[in-house]
């Protein structure tokens, strides 16, 4: 018998964790002499009450959906891929090469090509740690972290020495051709008299992220491969018994994970900056870990968690803009959310489980 109903596991626990995180964030804001209620109002106003706010929130969420899915797919195979950051950087390189060197006739083809490029580069960047883990037992946490640094160094070199247009000062590639411009939400949803999502970076890649969520759900719960990945993740000895090759599953799971992380840069590089810049990932690879944790490694959970973190990002930017609450405090709030929803999961879970058992016994 499960200790508590499923809805409590999926909805109630994250909600309570979130409220706890909000409570402690409020204490911190009080401590620096600001009004937490005002702060919350500002965040909600800035991130959710105007369409342009949503445009930012969903833009960030798109990044987090991809990286969150990436972490969750690897995690189903009990692999902790914290190299999303590096895989996304290299994915950006894939996007840039696709956009700069292929003459695309239309953005719809360009986004497909760029997705393939991003996925390919991201997957290849995950392949080396995956191979080392599967064949040599080098711990994937260590190798993927190191590969983040290598990726950053490579990107730096490529931008400064190879892709930088002659005469340009900043380490960035040339602007992508106009044909690769992706429709933003502003382009898509504005009407003659009513401009929507004014100036916001959210673009058509958001729908690509939704499609990726559906794809991951189908993959993990409806295909043989997903079945094998999950079985391997739960029990390696069981996988061996069933004739599931640990080497094969480790490599495949990491390739998919790396590809998803890489695809994030379709959103940032192609959808927003329209050229490859340094540090376009802005830590989204790491946020993906928190998103996957909070989303219980389920695509739908990842989607919701990604939107929440998008809200925190955008709301945080608003706070920094309109109050004396420093930008760093936003990081503290995000950290509290991660702490309560991820790391301290059991703190909420155990009392809740006891409560449900006690209730059931009283009813019985």
């Amino acid at each position: 018998m499960d200790k508590m109903p499923k809805w409590a596991d999926i909805v109630l626990i994250p909600l309570i964790s979130l409220l706890l995180a909000a409570f402690f964030s409020a204490l911190v804001i009080l401590a620096i002499g600001e009004n937490p209620i005002e702060a919350l109002k500002l965040m909600v106003d800035g991130a959710l009450m105007r369409s342009s706010g949503w445009g930012y929130t969903l833009y960030y969420a798109t990044n987090f959906i991809f990286t969150g899915l990436a972490v969750s797919v690897a995690f189903h195979a009990r692999l902790f891929n914290i190299g999303g950051e590096g895989q996304a950087m290299l994915g950006g390189l894939g996007v840039a090469l696709c956009c700069l060197y292929v003459p695309w006739p239309h953005w719809s083809l360009a986004i497909l090509g760029a997705s393939v490029g991003a996925a390919l580069f991201g997957a290849l960047w995950a392949l080396i740690p995956a191979y080392l883990q599967a064949k040599r037992g080098s711990h994937i946490v260590i190798t993927t972290i190191m590969f983040n640094f290598i990726a950053a160094a490579i990107l730096n070199y490529v931008l400064v020495e190879l892709l930088r247009p002659v005469g340009a000062m900043d380490p960035a590639s040339a602007k992508f051709p106009d044909a690769t411009h992706l429709p933003s939400f502003q382009d898509m949803f504005s009407t003659e008299g009513n401009k929507m999502f004014r100036g916001a970076p959210a673009n058509v890649t958001f729908f690509l992220a939704l499609a990726a969520s559906v794809f991951v759900w189908l993959l993990m719960w409806r295909t043989k491969l997903g079945y094998q990945i999950r079985a391997f993740g739960h029990s390696e000895s069981g996988a061996l018994y069933a004739g599931i090759s640990p080497v094969r599953i480790t490599v495949i799971a990491m390739l998919i994970s790396g590809a998803l992380a890489g695809m994030m840069s379709v959103n940032t590089t192609m959808g927003e900056s329209e050229r490859l810049i340094l540090n376009s990932t802005e830590g989204a690879g790491f946020i993906g870990i928190a998103v996957a944790l909070m989303g219980r490694n389920h695509p739908f959970g990842v989607l919701l968690a990604a939107i929440l973190f998008g809200f925190l990002y955008q709301g945080g930017a608003e706070l920094a803009l309109w109050t004396s609450i420093p930008r760093e405090l936003i990081v503290v709030i995000q950290a509290l959310v991660i702490l309560f929803t991820g790391a301290l999961d059991n703190m909420v879970r155990e009392p809740l489980e006891k409560l449900f058992i006690a209730m059931r016994r009283r009813n019985a």
């Binding site: 079945y227 739960h234 029990s235 069981g238 018994y241 069933a242 004739g243 019985a364």
Partner: protein
């Protein structure tokens, strides 16, 4: 009348929604061996844990020698004169016997004086109860039987008057078990009280004075052993009549299905576990491999199942199967007609977090009939799982429940349903009834015999001699990676197999019906 050595009154304990012990009362007279028998999950271990201070009872009282006693922790239990020998020994492997015995009972900061005192005391105990162990030997060099003696000595050193043994014979050879019971007899003569927890009816019948039966957390009966029978006890345990012997016709072996020649297996640590064995299994027969755990049987199964590498030749229906590299995995084995009920269903045979229906195709997830284009035919698998669970009487028959939520017996039925219904040419089956309750054992044995009667070959590995003797047609004994003997199951007995299991191939003495060899267990290796 003397006060009972130990008396429990109305003990109850619940874990969440599960009532593990319900209003349990027993009273054990001093100087007796009292057996407690019950199926897995009947609440035996919980009761003993309460007695030893690991759990606190929700209700009830404990009296030691007529005195009401509170046992909040194991220190209090020791002070009350209770000693416990656990199923899994709690010894420090790289300490000597002496060091293990004083562990936690050291006197003062310096070890020397306690060691000296313990050595004297140990000598005294050894003389008094026949518990001979070299005090300076390191634990990991001792046989399992001797390690168990150290556990008993630990308890006696702490002045235990009441000794609780939890499934003490699970890891022993029959000869070692005999020696254990001789020691327990001695202890009883000296006035100690012994509580023996076991699921083996034979041990209860032979060695106890009184026996209590537990079922679903309740004490269903306490009877004098002399006034009961195994059938009656089994009925009390399960709650219905149980067939203790497998009902089967003589085997009609056909063509050779599995042929093993010169098989060697080296484990990951580089130790040779199987040292060149030859073995055949024919269609329509059950070959049982007997042996103390850790003598190469598991490795044999692993190679056959395709998840360990070996050298030598194995043919299946006349065709050689690869033993390492490409084609030596579980998928290739299944394709060759080998089904496998692994020894450890929780680590291997099932994914505990998967729902039962997902587990019904585990290992066969590549089968074309459960695919639906690119996706798996989950609906079809679910429907079939429902039917399978019905046919194999899995309880509760809910395919959505995760495997970990089923009892051991029902988990095993899920594995069996999956493997048997594949209609294999050869079924490998390891420890089919380990941790399985009596009611389910009967069912599982019947399924295996049915498969044999359909003309399938079956290779059975079990550490339960009784099971081997009742199920197998032919018995092969493994010791230290070798086959030490092969016997017709109908014409051998536990004594003879016991000698073979200890590596003694001259069994003429016991085959003629004489007693066993007392020194036979000296060379039995520790459980690996």
């Amino acid at each position: 009348m003397t006060a009972p050595a130990i008396e429990l009154k109305g003990i109850s304990k619940a874990f969440g929604p599960v009532q593990a012990n319900k209003d349990i009362s027993i009273s054990v007279q001093p100087g007796t061996i009292h057996g407690i028998i019950g199926e897995n999950g009947a609440g035996k271990s919980t009761l003993m844990s309460i007695l030893y201070g690991f759990y606190k009872a929700d209700a009830g009282e404990i009296f030691i020698k007529g005195q009401k006693t509170l046992i909040p922790d194991s220190q209090a239990a020791i002070r009350a004169g209770i000693g416990m020998v656990f199923q899994h020994f709690k010894l420090v492997e790289n300490f000597t016997v002496l060091e293990n015995i004083i562990l936690g009972a050291e006197e003062g900061a310096m070890l020397n004086s306690s060691l000296g005192n313990a050595r004297k005391e140990l000598k005294h105990l050894a003389e008094e109860y026949g518990l001979n162990v070299d005090p300076d030997e390191v634990i990991e060099n001792l046989s399992v039987g001797h390690q168990q003696r150290v556990e008993i000595l630990k308890a006696l050193y702490r002045k235990a008057e009441i000794l609780i043994l939890d499934e003490p014979t699970g890891v022993l050879t029959p000869a070692e078990a005999d020696q254990l019971f001789r020691i327990l007899d001695r202890l009883r003569e000296e006035g100690k009280t012994i509580i023996l927890i076991t699921h083996k009816l034979r041990e209860i019948m032979e060695y106890t004075d009184t026996v209590s039966v537990m079922r679903r957390g309740e004490m269903t009966a306490t009877v004098k052993t002399a006034e009961t029978s195994p059938e009656h006890l089994a009925e009390l345990m399960v709650g219905r009549k149980v067939l203790l012997r497998v009902d089967k016709k003589p085997a009609e072996p056909g063509a050779t299905v599995l042929d093993i020649k010169g098989l060697r297996v080296v484990d990951e640590a580089g130790v040779e576990r199987v040292k060149g064995i030859d073995l055949t299994v024919r269609a329509g027969e059950i070959v049982g491999i007997a042996g103390v755990a850790g003598n190469g049987q598991s490795e044999l199964l692993e190679v056959l199942g395709g998840f360990a590498d070996g050298t030598g030749t194995i043919t299946m229906n006349g065709e050689a199967i690869p033993l390492s590299g490409h084609g030596a995995d579980g998928q290739a084995r299944r394709a060759a007609g080998i089904s496998h009920v692994p020894e450890d269903r929780q680590r291997e045979g099932l994914i505990m977090e998967f729902a039962a229906w997902e587990n019904t195709v585990f290992g066969y997830h590549h089968s074309p009939e459960i695919q639906n284009g690119l996706l798996m035919d989950n609906k079809g698998i679910y429907t079939e799982a429902e039917a399978k669970m019905q046919r194999f009487d899995v309880r509760p028959p809910d395919p959505k429940l995760a495997a970990k939520n089923f009892s051991g017996g029902n988990q095993q039925k899920i594995v069996l349903a999956r493997e048997i219904e594949r209609n294999p040419d050869l079924l490998l089956i390891g420890q089919p009834t380990r941790g399985v309750d009596i009611g389910a054992i009967e069912f599982i044995h019947q399924q295996v015999v049915n498969l044999r009667d359909q003309g399938k070959a079956i290779l059975l590995v079990s550490v339960e001699l009784e099971e081997i003797l009742s199920l197998a047609d032919r018995v092969v004994v493994m010791f230290d990676g070798h086959i030490t003997g092969e016997r017709d199951a109908a014409q051998t007995n536990e004594k003879e197999l016991g000698l073979l299991m200890a590596g003694i191939t001259d069994t003429s003495a016991v085959a003629n019906g004489n007693g066993g060899n007392d020194n036979s267990t000296q060379e039995v290796p520790a459980d690996g």
